[in-house]
Symmetry: C2
Subunit: 187 residues, 2 copies
Amino acid sequence: MGISDTALHQQGLTASKDAFINHWGEMGTSWGVPRSMAEIHALLFIEGRGMCTDEIMDRLQISRGNVSTTLRQLAEWGIVTRARQRGDRKDYYEAEQDVWTLLSLIVRARKRRELEPLLAALAEAKHLAPIPSRDDSKAEKQAQKDHLKRLDSMDDALKRLDRLSDRFIGRGGKGLDVAVRLLASLL
Amino acid sequence: MGISDTALHQQGLTASKDAFINHWGEMGTSWGVPRSMAEIHALLFIEGRGMCTDEIMDRLQISRGNVSTTLRQLAEWGIVTRARQRGDRKDYYEAEQDVWTLLSLIVRARKRRELEPLLAALAEAKHLAPIPSRDDSKAEKQAQKDHLKRLDSMDDALKRLDRLSDRFIGRGGKGLDVAVRLLASLL
DNA sequence: TTGAAATTTCAGAATAAATTGAAATCAAAG
DNA sequence: CTTTGATTTCAATTTATTCTGAAATTTCAA
């Protein structure tokens, strides 16, 4: 007895989904995202419906603990939403389906976790930088000046990006889309 | 005998540089960049002068092999430049000093290594997706249609980003700066 | 050529990160 | 309550990545 008609028909669909999931997971690793997290997200995105822990575990061959932890993180970032289904005790999760909103959420999360601490670090480095004093040699004063200039140029650029992202990524979600269209039309 | 006058004066400068290097290295790890690579780059940036392998090894306490390999990669990406100094057999490396050019180079490298393969993957997934046939049920046809729509929306967004980055990051380096100023002024 | 000085390579060691799985906890239904 | 099903936690393990260091190679001046 061969596989069912439905299975046959779904073959291509499943193959296509798997390809997407695998590559998305692969890319995750080079962006510092655990493979399983990227895979879970890819699965939820490409299925486009709520899924429970067990279904995800089965489909991706990932442990319960991993799925639970990962799902919670994705939900924290707003990339997936948790929902209960009537008469069912399980939690179901589904992924944001609008790609620009998705990208915005990712950028927002990384900005908070990484850009902001970096800006704080730059402030610290500036604070530690020596203030030129009367008895510094000319060469020393120049070195101190150059050093501050480097810190400032980095700080300026990152602050600018920070403010920009606040505007375009803030509330809503379509801001990124608008920004990209705007830029594209301007050149 | 205490430390020299010069050392005393340089104390604050060195502390500030170290702070910058440490935090930059830290951030590297969360972006999938090896700590030592981020540190080497930070050192070259903040020193703003050519440095040879041995000086980098000593300052950062990193092995020769690691420094050699890392420097080559950074040079490949165009983020550091290799230069000979007259009458000296050693290679000296210095980092791009313009922050916007630096960011452009980083974006360009990641785009090539990560965005482009992902676009290829999406093309593959589309290729694998089933073509609706006469004897598919209505539900199946709908599922296939929805699936393609998801792949397309992801593909569109990433392609748009790809094209945008080509424009703003392409040759020159100041494109990103211009783009960011432009956007900032528009809102 | 030759040899000193520098760089590169890469197998193995060290480190860091992700994943598992089972026990503990929690929550809803009876 | 208590029971059952689901989720969370986390120490131990596995896996992946990064780093080292010494040998091999390259480079260049003499």
